[in-house]
């Protein structure tokens, strides 16, 4: 199987995964008790009306009286045509709400991702070059600390110290400041810092262990003997083979954090991003918005996994396409 065919098959599989996950979500929501119907029944009963009739009306209005397969086909076509419905919580189309939220999520996600993928491998490499020195121990200690401290707990503590006690950063996130301004940078320092410490630890450990494997490899010794500068040896001869296993950990770690921690971080720092949107939509039982934001998270996860697999094969030409 050639590279093109492998990529095609992999992309097709990514599509299938998205489809399956969205189908399961649909079935789950279809069989879970519908809050709107319940609300309508309660309201009708309170106002002295007939609850059964009210339930019927709401079901008809929402299209819930149609058979399951019709609703499913509707659902799939509306996802494909980007008509994700109307959000009752935000009183705007779901897609508009998602784009707005994405704007705030991107503001901390982009610096976080860039910092993680540059600092993590570099510190790991530095650590393995100075193995068992005090610098290595400090870096390892930091890695373990960042990895082990629950992100949301760390965020609360930092917010308490720097926001409430020292008053260096605002406690409430302000959406009014321009994106590229000092105020915005100041209010994003803590979330980015917390996320970077959380995600960097795993990368540092993997890159330290992997690169120490190559520190004394024959090809590195040869390169050094030929007079290659240490910097070049580290960058081209050690870092490159290290990046192969690292790329897997990297994408996996970032995705895991994105789906989990970003939600908590947004709640703690009151950033109106995607995670908080999903959380609030779940609480408000805004079905369309819940489905839409879940789809965004699923897409991010699936595309991330896809990119990871493809980079893996690009970086390591030895991997055969047949046994994935």
């Amino acid at each position: 199987m050639g590279f093109t065919r492998y990529v095609t098959a992999r992309v097709a599989w990514a599509g299938v995964v998205t489809f399956i996950i969205m189908t399961v979500t649909f079935v789950f929501i279809a069989f879970a008790p519908n809050p709107e119907v319940k609300r309508a029944a309660t309201q009708a009963a309170l106002q002295g009306g007939d609850p059964t009739e009210a339930v019927e009306r709401v079901r008809e209005l929402r299209g819930l009286d149609q058979p399951l397969h019709v609703r499913y086909i509707d659902y799939v076509t509306s996802i494909a045509t980007l008509q994700w419905g109307w959000s009752t919580m935000r009183s705007q189309p779901v897609t508009a709400a998602l784009v707005e939220a994405l704007f705030y999520t991107a503001q901390y996600s982009v610096p976080w991702t860039l910092l993680t993928i540059t600092i993590g491998p570099l510190v790991g490499l530095y650590s393995s070059a100075n193995k068992y020195s005090w610098r290595d121990h400090v870096a390892t200690g930091f890695a373990f600390f960042g990895y082990a401290i629950p992100n949301f707990f760390f965020a609360i503590i930092l917010l308490l110290v720097f926001g409430v006690w020292l008053e260096w950063v605002p406690v409430i996130y302000r959406t009014t400041v321009p994106v590229f301004s000092v105020e915005n940078a100041i209010q994003l320092v803590l979330p980015v810092f917390v996320l970077v410490t959380g995600s960097i630890g795993g990368l540092m450990r993997v890159s330290r262990n992997e690169s120490s494997e190559y520190m004394n490899a024959d090809f590195v010794k040869t390169a050094r003997a030929k007079g290659v500068s240490p910097l070049r040896a580290y960058a081209l001869h050690i870092l490159r083979p290290t990046m192969v296993p690292l790329s897997t950990t990297m994408v996996g770690q970032l995705l895991l954090l994105f789906a989990g921690s970003s939600l908590l971080i947004e709640v703690v720092f009151s950033i109106p991003g995607l995670g908080r949107l999903l959380f609030e939509a779940t609480i408000a039982q805004d079905t369309n918005l819940v489905l839409g934001s879940i789809l965004v998270f699923v897409l991010v996860a699936v595309i991330g996994n896809l990119l990871q697999d493809i980079t893996y094969t690009v970086l390591d030409p030895r991997i055969s396409y047949d046994d994935r």
Partner: protein
């Protein structure tokens, strides 16, 4: 199984080692059976004879009720005793070797001591210190030796000096808004943590090991489907799914434990599968197959024990994930509010953070230390149980 084995190979009584008959059981299995049957009997009695509101031990005069979760917990504890602790005692030579290797990692030894403290406190603590009662008069008491402005505490349980309320030994770690002692809540939280750790891990190991071995042995389309499912589960945003399910069905502890265990075994299944595949190529497995061993026997006696090292290291990564997920969901207000888990205490103390930081700090630090300890222990176990990987990394 023989506890004193002869040191020389030709003196080994193979009948005794391998078990003579088809239905002979090892000491471990016998022990597990003997202890599980009374447990099952008690559970059946509780479920069939007593009505729902009668506490389990009322007929003998004790007002102690055993919830369903506790039966599961007791069973996993028995499994742990008979299949992790007892084998370590049965094989002293190997245990000594592992301990020698493990001891080389100092932080891991300290971490192991801490995990031991968590284990003992979690088992014994909730029996000695019952879940604290509300006492609105004693809200926001500071921890012992510390003081807060007396205006913040409703009525000070300790001394008031210059308008500052001092903590007392009645509440060593202070109290919450409802006047519950943080220390007593924390101790009960140890118990909840143990339950989450043990039961979820048990579910994950059973599912992961079964799927891994079935996949490796069946091959063909079964393997393909199972592994594709594992892929899907791997790319699923689990926390978001927990959020959705728990919001819909309510955040009971058993539901959370079930969810955590059921959707976290994909890494384990991959490990076990690749281990099973590589083992089935080994000469001794071919020999066993030729002498007529069933597939189940090969799996039970060779594949699972051989993948134990990866399973155990995977567990040390899984448990912190479970604890973190519970804390995160509790923090979002979706946990089980009827139990004092660490996450619940953190969530409850968040509003009072500025003037009563001990409510958040105490459980947060304990959670942090526990996760840290699991990481160190996992690191050291990886080196001790899997010397090949360590040798590869050090080369």
């Amino acid at each position: 199984m023989a506890t004193q084995r002869p040191e020389r190979f030709d003196q080994v009584n193979w009948e005794e080692v391998a078990g003579a008959g088809r239905f002979s059981l090892s000491t471990n299995a016998k022990g597990l059976l003997v202890t599980t049957i009374p447990l099952l009997a008690l559970a059946a009695y509780d479920w069939l004879v007593l009505d729902e509101r009668t506490p389990t031990f009322e007929p003998v005069g004790l007002n102690v009720d055993v919830p369903i979760l506790d039966y599961m917990f007791a069973f996993t504890l028995l499994l742990f005793a008979f299949y992790v602790v007892l084998p370590l005692y049965q094989h002293p030579r190997l245990t000594k070797y592992y301990w020698r290797e493990f001891r080389r990692n100092r932080p891991a030894v300290v971490s192991l001591v801490w995990l031991g403290v968590v284990f003992v406190l979690g088992l014994v603590g909730p029996l000695l210190i019952t879940s604290p009662e509300q006492n609105v008069l004693h809200s926001y008491q500071p921890p012992v030796y510390l003081s807060v402005n007396a205006a913040n505490a409703a009525t000070c349980a300790g001394e008031v000096v210059d308008g500052m309320c001092f903590g007392t030994w009645q509440y060593p770690l202070g109290t919450t808004r409802a006047g519950k002692g943080v220390f007593a809540m924390l101790v009960n939280g140890f118990g909840i943590t143990l339950k989450i750790g043990f039961i979820s891990t048990f579910i994950a190991v059973v599912l992961g090991a079964s799927v891994g071995t079935v996949s490796a042995y069946a091959g063909g389309w079964v393997d393909e489907i199972l592994m594709r499912y594992v892929d899907i589960q791997g790319s699923w945003p689990t926390l978001i799914m927990y959020l959705l399910i728990i919001y819909t069905f309510g955040g009971r502890l058993w539901l959370l434990i079930l969810l955590l265990g059921t959707f976290s075994w994909e890494g384990m299944a991959r490990y076990v599968r690749s281990k099973a595949l590589s083992i089935s190529e080994e000469e001794y497995i071919k020999a066993i197959n030729m002498s007529g061993a069933s597939a189940f026997r090969v799996v039970r006696r060779h594949v699972v024990p051989n993948s134990a090292s990866s399973i155990i290291t995977d567990i040390t990564l899984l448990i912190p994930g479970f604890l973190l997920a519970e804390a995160q969901l509790s923090f979002l207000g979706l946990g089980d509010t009827s139990v004092d888990s660490w996450g619940q205490i953190i969530a409850g103390g968040r509003d009072a953070l500025a003037f009563a930081p001990w409510i958040v700090l105490a459980p947060g630090l304990v959670l942090f230390l526990t996760i840290l300890a699991f990481n160190f222990v996992g690191d050291a176990l990886l080196d001790a149980l899997n010397p090949e990987a360590a040798a590869e990394a050090e080369r």
